[in-house]
C-alpha cells in the first residue's frame, strides 16, 4: 500500500472524534487484581476534582468494608442506591435514573464489570456507564484486567479461575484515559495478609487460590501490556487525527470462520486480538452448506451464539453459501474482501469414516491457502462437548414401527413369490428395497428396525436350512452379513436424504412465506391493512407472537397491532420498547438491554426516519436464539419499505386533499358571495319599492311581490343544497331504505315543483308494472327535484322535460331528459363535482354547482349510480341516467 500523501486528517479519525463531542469523558482505573487500590485511586482523583469545584457525585462505590476506602469516601456527595428485590434478597444497585436526573459533571462508578440484578434497565453496569456517558456526564470507573472479554480466556488459563463478569473490549476503546494502578505483587500480598483487602478468614482462602505470586506477576504484565496497547492506540489516533504521516498499516482484514468447531469462541478471541493489534477490520463468517442442514438445533444454536459473540466484539458478520466445498467458499470470499489472515477453530475429533466421507475444511484451507496466512485456534471451549453428535435418531413413531414391520412382511411375501417363480433371484434385494422404502418414508430409526427384521426373516425363511436361524453355508453368512451392513448404510442414507428434503422444504417454505409476506405487505394500501398484514405475517413466518408499536400524534409509543391481538404490555416490556424507539437499537429479551422482558423489540427505521418498533415473543428462548438474522433483516426491511411507501402515498393523498380543500374553499367563497347575494339584491330592491307603493300600478306591485317570492325560493334551495352537501360530507345522511313506488315520488316532486314546471311541461313514461325500488323516498324526491330543476334552468321555455323508467335486470333505470344545449363530452363527469359549472354564456341562469353533486351523493348513498349523456345523437340535450336497486320482494315483512 502506498503511504497516505494527503496531509489532511483522515475522515475516519475525525468522525470518531466528532462522535465523542458532547459525550462525557471516560477514565478507567485498571488494575491487575483486586486490592491494588483502584477504587482508592479513583476516589483520590475524585477528591481532587471536587476540591477544584467540579460537581462530583459518587454514584456507586464498593468499599468491601475496607476502612481506608470508606474514610476516603467520607465527604464526597454520595448518590443513594436503589433497593432491588431479587429472588427474595434485598440488594442495592446504582440508581441510573437518579444519576441522569442529578446530572453531575463527574460521576464515580466503581466496578465496571458488575452484573446488575435482574430487572434493571441493563444487564451490565458498563451499559449503564455508556448511557451516562451519552448523557454528557464524565465517568471515572475501575476495572480488573481479568474482566476484559478477550483476556478472559488467557487469565483463566493463567490462574485457573474463570470470571463470568466480562466487559467487551470496545468499552476499553471508549476510554479517553486509562490509568494503570500498579502495585508490585509482594506489596499486594502484604496488603492482603494485613486484611486490608478481604477480612482475615477470606484472605487465607484467597491466597491459596488466586493470590499466588506467579499469578499476580503474570496478571501485572498483562495489565501493563493492555494499558500500553491502549496508549499506543491513542497515539496513533492522535497522529491520524492531526494528519501526522507515518507508516500506516495496510487496510487488511482478518477473517474468522465460525463453524461448529469446539474452538470457535477461542477463534473469535484470537481474531479480535489480532484485529485490535493490527487496527484492522475483521469479519466473522459462517459457511452454510447442504450438510449444515443436517445439524441439530444444539449445533445451530452454538453457531448463532458464536456469530453473536463476534458481532458484539465488533466484527462484521456474514453468512455465505458454499456452492461446492466449504474451503473454496471461504477462500473466494476472503479474496473478494481483501483478507490477509484467516482464522479457523480447530475441528472436532472425527472418526476415520467421517473424515473420509466429509470434507476436512482445515486441511483443505491449508492446502490451498496460497498467500493467505492461516491460523488455527486450538483452545477448546470448556462448555462444549467435543464429540459431535451424529444425525440424531428421529424419535420413532408408532406408525413408523408398524410400517417397518408391515413392509418387511410384504417383502417376505414378495420374496416367497419370487422364490417360486425365479428360484435364482437375489432375494436380499427385495429386503433392501423394503428398507429403502421405510427409510425414505419414516426416517432412520424405523429403517434400522426394518433392516434387522429383514435380516432375521431372510435368514429364517430363505437361507438353508429354512425355518431355522442357523446358517450352514459359509457363503450365505457373507451374503447375510453384507446385506445387514448394506441395508443399514442405505437405510441411513435414504433417511438422511429424506431429512434433507424436509429441511429443504422448510427453507423453501420460508422463502415462500417471505415472498408471500412482501406481496401482502406491498398490497396493503391502508395503514390498518398494512399493520394487520405485518403482525399476522411476522407471527406466521416466525411462528411467534408479534406486536407493532408506532408513535401516536403526541409522539408516545403505543401498540397499533398485535397477533394475537394484544393491547397491554407490562412495565418492563414498555421500557424495552421505548428504549428501542429512542435509541434505535434492539432491546428486550435476548438482547443486552432489559433482557428480562418477555418481548424482543427491534427498530423499524431507515437512516433518516424511524417508523416504529416491531416486537416478537416466543414461548422458548431457543427459538429466539435460532432466529435467522438474514430472515429478520429481510422482514424488517420489507416492513420499513412498506411503511415508507405508505407514508409517501399518505403524504401525497394529504397534499391532494389539501389542494382539493383549497379549491373547494375558494369555490364556496365565490358561490356564497354570488349565489347568496344575487337573490338578496332583488329581494331588497323589490321590497323597497313595495314599501312605497304610491304610483305603482297594481300589475307592477304584483310582479315585484312575485319576484320576491321567486328569489326567496331560489335562496332557500341554495341554502338547502349547502345543508345537504354538508350532511353528505359528514356522513350524517343515513338513508332509510324501503320499497318505494317511483311514480309516487315523481308525483310528490311534481306537486312541490308545480310553480317551476309551469313553463316546462314534465311528461312521464312509467310502465304500470314498474316494481318498487330500494330507496329513501325523501332523498329520492330531493334528487328528482334537483335534476328537474337543473333541466328547467338549462332548457328553453316551453320545451318539454321527459322522465322515463324501465327495469334492467335487478336494476331500475330512470332517465330525465331535456332539450337544452347539452353538456360537452369532457364535462359530463365533472358536472357531478362540487361547484362545477359548465360555461354557458351570460344568457344562462347561473346554478350553484351543487345540485348535481348532491344528487350523486344521495343516489350513491342509496346504492345507485348516476351519469350524464346527450339526449340527441348530435350532442344536444342532456339526459341524466340513474340506476337504482329494485326492491327484493323477499324483504317485505
Amino acid at each position: 500500500m502506498k503511504p497516505v500523501a494527503d496531509p489532511r486528517p483522515s475522515p475516519a479519525a475525525l468522525l470518531e472524534r466528532a462522535n465523542r463531542e458532547g459525550r462525557g469523558r471516560l477514565k478507567i482505573f485498571i488494575g491487575a487484581a483486586p486490592g491494588v487500590g483502584k477504587t482508592w485511586a479513583m476516589l483520590d482523583d475524585g477528591h481532587r476534582e471536587w476540591a477544584k469545584g467540579v460537581d462530583v457525585v459518587a454514584a456507586v462505590i464498593e468499599t468491601h468494608g475496607r476502612a481506608e476506602t470508606e474514610a476516603k469516601l467520607a465527604d464526597l456527595p454520595l448518590l443513594p442506591r436503589k433497593p432491588v428485590l431479587y429472588k427474595n434478597r434485598a440488594l442495592t444497585e446504582m440508581d441510573l435514573d437518579a444519576l441522569l436526573a442529578r446530572h453531575p459533571t463527574l460521576a464515580l462508578i466503581d466496578e465496571l464489570a458488575h452484573t446488575n440484578a435482574e430487572g434493571g434497565r441493563h444487564e451490565k453496569r458498563w451499559q449503564d456507564v455508556a448511557e451516562v456517558l451519552a448523557a454528557g456526564i464524565d465517568v471515572y470507573t475501575t476495572l480488573n484486567i481479568q474482566h476484559i472479554e478477550t483476556l478472559n480466556e488467557t487469565v483463566a488459563r493463567i490462574t485457573g479461575v474463570r470470571v463470568r463478569e466480562t466487559v467487551p473490549d470496545q468499552v476499553l476503546e471508549l476510554a479517553d484515559e486509562i490509568e494503570l494502578i500498579d502495585l508490585p505483587p509482594d506489596e499486594l500480598l502484604e496488603r492482603l495478609k494485613a486484611g486490608k483487602i478481604y477480612p482475615q478468614d477470606q484472605a487465607a482462602r484467597a491466597i491459596n487460590s488466586f493470590f499466588i505470586k506467579g499469578n499476580l506477576t503474570a496478571l501485572r504484565e498483562l495489565a501493563m501490556r493492555t494499558a500500553a496497547d491502549r496508549v499506543d492506540a491513542q497515539l496513533r489516533e492522535h497522529m491520524a487525527a492531526n494528519a501526522i504521516e507515518g507508516p500506516w498499516p495496510t487496510q487488511e482484514r482478518i477473517l474468522v470462520c465460525l463453524n461448529d468447531s469446539p474452538a470457535a469462541r477461542e477463534a473469535i478471541r484470537v481474531a479480535k486480538r489480532s484485529a485490535d493489534r493490527a487496527r484492522a477490520d475483521w469479519i466473522a463468517v459462517n459457511v452454510t452448506s447442504a450438510r449444515q442442514h443436517d445439524f441439530g438445533e444444539a449445533q445451530r444454536d452454538r453457531i448463532s451464539t458464536a456469530l453473536r459473540l463476534a458481532e458484539r466484539l465488533g466484527a462484521e458478520v456474514a453468512t455465505i453459501e458454499a456452492e461446492q466445498d466449504t474451503a473454496s467458499a471461504i477462500l473466494s470470499y476472503a479474496r473478494a474482501r481483501n483478507v490477509r489472515r484467516i482464522i479457523v477453530g480447530y475441528p472436532r475429533r472425527r472418526s476415520v469414516l467421517t473424515r473420509w466421507l466429509h470434507e476436512d475444511v482445515v486441511q483443505n484451507l491449508m492446502r490451498r491457502a496460497g498467500s493467505f496466512e492461516i491460523t488455527v485456534a486450538s483452545q477448546l471451549d470448556a462448555q462444549l462437548d467435543p464429540t459431535r453428535t451424529l444425525t440424531p435418531l428421529q424419535r420413532p413413531t408408532r406408525r413408523g414401527l408398524i410400517e417397518a414391520a408391515g413392509i418387511t412382511v410384504l417383502a417376505n411375501a414378495a420374496a416367497v413369490l419370487a422364490d417360486n417363480l425365479f428360484p435364482v433371484a437375489s432375494l436380499s434385494l427385495i429386503f433392501m428395497t423394503a428398507v429403502i422404502i421405510v427409510a425414505s418414508r419414516q426416517g432412520n430409526f424405523p429403517a434400522i428396525v426394518a433392516s434387522i427384521l429383514g435380516f432375521f426373516s431372510f435368514d429364517f425363511f430363505f437361507v438353508d436350512p429354512r425355518f431355522d436361524f442357523t446358517i450352514t453355508d459359509r457363503s450365505e453368512v457373507l451374503t447375510l452379513g453384507l446385506f445387514l451392513v448394506a441395508s443399514l448404510i442405505t437405510g441411513n442414507l435414504a433417511a438422511r436424504l429424506r431429512h434433507r428434503a424436509t429441511v429443504q422444504a422448510e427453507i423453501s417454505e420460508r422463502t415462500n412465506k417471505l415472498y408471500d409476506f412482501s406481496r401482502k405487505v406491498a398490497a396493503a394500501s391502508q395503514k390498518d391493512d398494512l399493520i394487520w398484514a405485518v403482525v399476522s405475517h411476522v407471527a406466521v413466518t416466525l411462528r411467534c407472537e408479534s406486536l407493532l408499536l408506532m408513535p401516536n400524534a403526541s409522539e408516545t409509543l403505543q401498540i397499533v397491532g398485535g397477533f394475537p391481538p394484544e393491547d397491554q404490555l407490562d412495565v418492563r416490556d414498555q421500557m424495552a420498547a421505548q428504549y428501542t424507539w429512542d435509541k434505535g437499537e434492539a432491546a428486550g429479551r435476548g438482547s443486552n438491554t432489559l433482557p428480562t422482558a418477555r418481548w424482543y423489540f427491534m427498530p423499524l427505521k431507515t437512516t433518516t426516519r424511524r417508523f416504529g418498533v416491531l416486537g416478537i415473543a416466543f414461548d422458548d428462548d431457543g427459538a429466539l436464539l435460532r432466529l435467522d438474522p438474514r430472515l429478520m433483516e429481510a422482514l424488517s426491511d420489507q416492513i420499513v419499505l412498506a411503511l415508507e411507501r405508505l407514508g409517501l402515498t399518505e403524504d401525497l393523498a394529504a397534499t391532494r386533499l389539501a389542494t382539493e380543500t383549497e379549491r373547494l374553499r375558494s369555490a364556496l367563497l365565490s358561490s356564497v358571495s354570488h349565489d347568496l347575494r344575487t337573490p338578496l339584491v332583488t329581494i331588497i330592491g323589490a321590497a323597497g319599492s313595495l314599501t312605497d307603493p304610491e304610483g305603482l300600478p297594481e300589475a307592477s306591485r304584483r310582479e315585484l311581490a312575485e319576484l320576491i317570492r321567486e328569489e326567496g325560493e331560489r335562496l332557500d334551495r341554495y341554502v338547502q343544497n349547502l345543508l345537504d352537501m354538508t350532511r353528505l360530507g359528514h356522513g350524517a345522511l343515513r338513508p332509510k331504505l324501503s320499497a318505494v313506488d317511483l311514480a309516487e315520488v315523481v308525483g310528490s316532486a311534481r306537486h312541490r315543483m308545480r310553480a317551476i314546471l309551469r313553463l316546462h311541461p314534465l311528461t312521464t313514461d312509467l310502465p304500470e308494472t314498474l316494481p318498487p325500488v330500494q330507496a329513501d323516498p325523501v332523498l329520492l324526491e330531493q334528487v328528482l327535484f334537483n335534476i328537474i330543476d337543473n333541466a328547467v334552468k338549462y332548457s328553453p321555455e316551453g320545451s318539454e322535460i321527459s322522465l322515463s323508467a324501465k327495469t334492467n335486470g335487478s336494476l331500475l333505470t330512470l332517465t330525465i331528459a331535456d332539450s337544452g344545449p347539452g353538456i360537452p363530452l369532457e364535462d359530463r363527469d365533472r358536472i357531478f363535482e362540487m361547484f362545477y359549472r359548465v360555461e354557458g354564456g351570460d344568457r344562462q341562469r347561473a346554478g350553484t354547482g351543487l345540485g348535481l353533486a348532491i344528487c350523486k351523493g344521495l343516489i350513491e348513498s342509496m346504492g345507485g349510480s348516476i351519469r350524464a349523456e346527450a339526449t340527441w345523437p348530435n350532442g344536444t340535450g342532456t339526459r341524466i341516467v340513474m340506476t337504482l336497486q329494485i326492491h327484493a320482494p323477499a324483504a317485505i315483512t
Binding site: 326567496g712 313506488d741 309516487e744 308525483g747 306537486h751 312509467l766 323516498p777 329520492l780 322522465l803
Partner: protein, 236 residues
C-alpha cells in the same frame, strides 16, 4: 269563513309577525309566544282554537311542548318544520300533531292547512254522509263511489281507505293513522300493505301517481287527498 283564535309559538319575531299578518288577513286573531313556557301558559289560559308550533325553540324541544299539550288538550296542531328534519316531523305527527308545513312556505299553503284543520272544530260542518270531490261522489251509507257518474267497484277496504282520505280532504293522513284504523294497531309498521292498497285504489280511480289528481304521496310520511279541495292544493 270561520274566524278563530290561533296561538303561534315561534322564537323568531319576523316569522311571528309575518304569520300574524297572514292569519289576521284571513280573519283570525293571533296570540304570540316566543318560548315553550310562554306558549304552554298561553295555551292553558287563553284556550285558542288551534296551535301553530315551531319545532326548534330556544328553551325546549317543540316535541316536548306537543307532548305536554296533548296531556290536557286536543286542539289541532300545525307544525312548522324544516326540510332537513324529516325525523322530527314524523315524531311530531306521531306525538299528535295534525299536519305540518315545511319552511319556507307560502301564505296560501299555510292558510289552506289552517282552514282544513279548523273545519272539524265547527260542529255545523260535521262529516257529511256523502262527499263530493271533483268528479268523485262518495256515499258512506251506501258504500258507493261514482266517478263522473260511472260507478266504481271498490273492495270494502279500498272504500274505507278512500273515505278516510276524502273525509280528511286537504289534510295529511299519516301511514300509521291509516294502518291502525283499517288494519288495527298491531299493523302500524306494515307500510308495505298500504303501498299495495294505495296502488290498487289509484288504479281504480284512474289516478296517476306521478301526476296525481286525487291522492298525493307525502314521501315517508303519508297521503293527502287533494281533489275538489282548495285550489292551491289541487292545482297541479
Amino acid at each position: 269563513m270561520t274566524a278563530a283564535r290561533i296561538l303561534v309559538i315561534d322564537d323568531e319575531a319576523p316569522i311571528r309577525r309575518f304569520l300574524r299578518v297572514a292569519l289576521e288577513s284571513d280573519g283570525h286573531s293571533v296570540l304570540e309566544a316566543a318560548t315553550a313556557r310562554e306558549g304552554l301558559l298561553a295555551a292553558a289560559r287563553e284556550t285558542p282554537a288551534m296551535l301553530i308550533l315551531d319545532l326548534g325553540l330556544p328553551d325546549a324541544d317543540g316535541l316536548s311542548v306537543l307532548r305536554d299539550l296533548r296531556g290536557w288538550s286536543a286542539m289541532p296542531v300545525l307544525i312548522l318544520s324544516v326540510r332537513s328534519d324529516e325525523a322530527g316531523k314524523v315524531a311530531a305527527l306521531d306525538a299528535g300533531a295534525q299536519d305540518y308545513v315545511v319552511k319556507p312556505f307560502s301564505v296560501k299553503e299555510l292558510l289552506a292547512r289552517v282552514r282544513s284543520l279548523l273545519r272539524d272544530r265547527n260542529p255545523t260542518e260535521a262529516v257529511p254522509a256523502v262527499i263530493d270531490a271533483g268528479d268523485l261522489r262518495i256515499d258512506a251509507a251506501l258504500h258507493h263511489v261514482t266517478q263522473a257518474g260511472t260507478a266504481l267497484h271498490l273492495t270494502r277496504r279500498e272504500f274505507d281507505m278512500l273515505w278516510m282520505l276524502a273525509s280528511n280532504s286537504g289534510r295529511l293522513v299519516t301511514q300509521s293513522m291509516i294502518l291502525s284504523t283499517l288494519w288495527g294497531p298491531a299493523h302500524v309498521e306494515d307500510s308495505q300493505y298500504l303501498r299495495v292498497f294505495i296502488r290498487q285504489l289509484r288504479a281504480k280511480l284512474g289516478d296517476d301517481a306521478s301526476n296525481p289528481r286525487y291522492i298525493v304521496t307525502e314521501p315517508g310520511v303519508g297521503y293527502r287527498f287533494i281533489a275538489g279541495n282548495d285550489a292551491s292544493l289541487g292545482d297541479g
